[in-house]
Point group: D2
Chain length 373, copies 4
């Protein structure tokens, strides 16, 4: 594991997700650039001191030299390190689990995609919301035609936590507001890309064009903290995307509505154990994890009977479970987010930044044209 020292958020989530099904063992890491924090984190996690490294280069070299060295590298650093570490990991022959946004630029993303292809290694991108069983069920309902031809996708990801200038010791906030570590996209890259991925994931369509406006609500901030965008999908649907980190009272309100000619779907991350299916002219139905129509693939990610709530960690664990399935029995996962999601995400970010520069002009996702054919 690279990153995830004490005080970080997502590293700990990865570790809990790995533990839940007991199919991974954390054996080595670079948890912090601060040597003391690095070591104390390792010790707390029960990792032997010898396998707590100063940087990822040292880790990769040393682990390669071990008989039973690490096989997977998990990257939970600030954004700017995703690309070099992932590339190095692939080159060292490791599978990669990487946080989003995948890279800082579209170029890096495409370069990484080539490296993945050449490496024949697995690449898992941590679009964890795809791990929720009912998100996967939504995707399958669309795929089975339960909604008919899609008309509209309404997606939003709204938070409050950057509504004010954060205190200096908020390490989560510090790197996210710093272009050198976060990249050129702020809210857009941090959560907008989650909303984008979810929209493509469930709709089964790819965004071909975007008209975006990036807003910085807090004076003095460099990066956007609010995004409003219109979308055109390659399958004909239209859509709207709203991402915000400056909306008081919103904790982690990622939600999506997909409108088809025969029915609509609604799902919201804060109540992840229900999925609304709204047929034309009929009563809306509250689907839950006990729904009869769940495929085996979806059911695999359910650990508890209906009515026993599963949450964020369980969904996250489903990414790792699917990865373990893939590595152990080479079971192809229909849904595991990977390098393609990452490339699309970085194309979306690039196009949105570009559209914003051009006063919201509709801007094609470069590379996405092929998908239109």
């Amino acid at each position: 594991m690279i990153g995830g020292g004490q005080g970080a958020f997502i590293g700990g989530v990865h570790r809990m997700a790995m533990r839940l099904d007991d199919r991974f063992e954390l054996v080595a890491g670079v948890f912090s650039s601060d040597a003391e924090r690095n070591l104390s984190t390792a010790l707390e996690l029960g990792i032997e001191q010898a396998r707590c490294y100063a940087d990822h280069v040292a880790l990769l070299a040393a682990e390669a030299a071990r008989e039973e060295g690490a096989e997977i590298i998990v990257i939970v650093t600030p954004n700017h390190l995703h690309f070099p570490v992932a590339l190095a990991g692939l080159e060292a022959g490791l599978h990669v689990v990487c946080e989003k946004p995948m890279t800082l630029t579209q170029d890096e993303a495409e370069q990484l995609a080539r490296a993945v292809e050449e490496s024949k290694r697995c690449f898992l991108l941590a679009h964890n919301y795809a791990g929720y069983p009912l998100v996967q069920h939504a995707r399958e309902l669309v795929d089975r035609g339960a909604l008919g031809r899609l008309r509209h996708v309404q997606v939003e990801y709204v938070q409050e936590w950057l509504s004010e200038t954060p205190p200096d010791d908020n390490r989560q906030a510090a790197w996210r507001l710093d272009p050198a570590q976060a990249g050129a996209a702020g809210c857009l890259g941090d959560i907008g890309v989650h909303a984008f991925q979810l929209a493509q994931f469930i709709s089964g369509q790819r965004v071909s064009e975007v008209s975006a406006e990036l807003i910085t609500a807090i004076p003095g901030r460099v990066l956007d903290d609010n995004v409003q965008a219109l979308l055109r999908f390659n399958g004909g649907a239209r859509g709207m995307l709203w991402a915000s980190q400056t909306s008081p009272g919103f904790e982690n309100e990622l939600s999506i509505r997909v409108i088809g000619e025969k029915a609509s779907l609604q799902w919201a991350q804060e109540t992840p154990n229900e999925l609304w299916f709204k047929p034309l002219n009929g009563p809306s139905q509250r689907l839950t994890r006990r729904d009869d129509a769940l495929s085996d693939g979806v059911s695999r990610g359910i650990r508890l009977p209906g009515g026993h709530p599963e949450g964020y960690i369980e969904a996250f664990a489903n990414l790792y479970q699917a990865l373990a399935d893939k590595l152990s029995v080479d079971q192809p996962s229909a849904w595991l987010p990977g390098i393609d999601d990452g490339v699309d995400g970085m194309r979306f970010i690039a196009a949105a930044l570009d559209s914003n520069q051009k006063q919201g002009a509709w801007t094609a996702l470069v590379g996405a044209e092929d998908a239109n054919e």
Copy 2:
């Protein structure tokens, strides 16, 4: 009353709204261009046959000649008749209650505005959602600064009822889908303008620019039945507006969220007796009609104790109640929608149509620039 014959929808609502507080009497009308339906409607309503007229010209002439002729003209016809009838009504010295969208064009709207000003008559535009007490309370909370400076307005009005080509005998649908009667804006004019009005009403800011895409989901249909738009407000807020009449499972889902620097508000028309106040970092609060902080003006529109649900008709009746107050005691209503809302609405429609023609380019609401100063 002009319009509102048997089989119509909104005319009946106006009549129930008038009756609820017993401050108006329906005395004359032209209920249909179909003579038979016209008369049978009148009889059913207990209106004497002599005051059931063939057209509004006849009505205005005859009523003017009566000792106690009608004092108010209520226009509940298809859109294309709003302007000529309203103009004629004002010229005859009557107060006017008119359905939205106010006119077919911005020119007509501005012409009507001049006529209202010259006439010194009251002009009530039926933006009935402004009649809900908690909508008025939301507006006052914004005005009092409870949200701080506004950042974002998210408004939507989503229906399913035109998701398919309606049967020929659906008279409600027929005129709405016919540009000759509905005007150049379909869904945009029918419900988009309600969402627009609500956004301005609560935020206290005026939309200065719009970037819009109009979509026609149903093949063969001439007018838009879906609208997605980005908004810029003159007070600095941004916003998004989605209107749709082709979204299965959505009955009449008008809702709005207003994001400020200190708190956010949420209100949805289908659950109108609750208003969510979401302060930064604090628990969200479910305000109801019993909220202590309601002003006298808002309380005036409440007929029942908290927990006894009031709905659409009661909100509509509040328009009439406020009109009656204004006419009887010349009590100025802070909130009664009128000619200015109508002019703004038609400017919005014109700018949205224009933006759509120009591939979503940001388009100023002509006339609205002044408001920016």
Copy 3:
């Protein structure tokens, strides 16, 4: 109308309900025992002074003497006057609309039942919650067998408004807390009887036995302000009833759940436009007023399309509409609450008071045994 002077609550509701469909005219009344308030209420309502009477005896005599005297007497007084006024009204040949609880005692109720039968007049008991279309739909779903054999009925009516000792000038509270005016049952008679009626109304079963505990939460109060009871129904279902007027944060939370072997139903008065149908092993469905399966009888009480909320006044108006239908075209109403509901309600109150005296012993509703056969 007897009662309903300025400052009263339910009288005004009756008047709005009557007006909504314009099928009744309020022509005479005794609005208050306070002469001044009586007259000023009459004038405010546009009733001629000559028909504003000092008491119901005077009213009945004078109206009987008129060519077109009042035909219906509406009783919206404190409880202790229901019985004598209703009886006098029937004897004078008028139809009766009466508030609940119908009388002070079971004896009075049975005496009144005989008077109704002899009089051949209509008797409407204001169990207004039966007027909600989805409550009627729930009743029909049970009757059609959509739930299978019933197992359990869970009903509650919870309010906060008597959580503290009310101020002296709260006239609503004053008579309700006074046994001389309210009778021997406090919360039990005021709202418990609504919950009871709703349970019987929807389940189609009659309560045969009750085990009740009456509680007085506020020191110094004479009557119960909290009721908890277990129920046995004559069709085999069991049930629980909770009524409270001392529960902070509860405005008017009447709700019911009916459990059958095939499905369950849920309805709550504060969100009256949705009815939950929960089939065994399947997704719960949110039925609304647009549900296809509504009978003509239920549809008759719907004035607006789905998604346009109807509330308390509309439900109340449905009682008057059904009464008007009955009187004008002698259309039998399947659901209009009447004298039988009143007798059952008073039997329930008597049995609950008795059970409470006997430390919660199961107590039969006297007279209800016949229903078991």
Copy 4:
């Protein structure tokens, strides 16, 4: 671990709960009385074959003989084995984690209590719903006086899964419906006791008397599958308890409402990340895990920021986390359910069975009288 073989439910939950924070290691077990299933479960869990035992006697003997033998015994068997295994575990000097209901009888419970006291070992009873942070917060709000004196507790636990006679191969159902394995209480012992514990846990009051009716809805079934009961608490509150396993459409609907003189609380297990605080006359507040007022003890059980849903497994893991805290740093946990909850639970079951025999007569919880002083 005793129990929890393949096909069981709760054993797997315990294992996931233990893993989440990585503070326990599963080293030995008797997973099934079926030798083959026993072994295959052990192998699947990565337990060495030598530590997979034929029964708990063998396990305790062998582990005692090991240098680093098991220190804790986790009992996830059918009910009838809880008592003998727990007793044997304590006698062998192990800490005990035990599923509910703690024993088959009140006598066993009291005997076990004495054994716990003598052993000086920790005893954790798996009342997992106490592990939810917002349940603990509710308890603390009551304790701090935020509700004032309590008036009423409304608790229910409603499921559908035994609505029909289950198929023979449903092992979960089979032992629960068999008095030899489940004891004399069916639904009452399986989930009624959870509701009871939750009511005491949050209210801080103990139930002193119960009036209960036990119902068997499904013909041919021996044990109760529905419970309705009235409660009296030693602090003066009253309450109602409903437990059902035959209610279609209810998945795992455990919920509680606590009514005080100043405010009420509501919590429902299926939406565990919100807690409603309903003050008298004020707006209801939706408290979440980010609430400022959370104590350190409650915060300790929160692994994710607000808006990132935590569920059943996380709450369960909080039991193990608190146990680990207690064992490692001897940190006393204010809330960890233990032997006292178990004794009270069995007293409640005994009293409810007794009351049911006596036609619902109020029946004291024997032993609970002391608590009243």
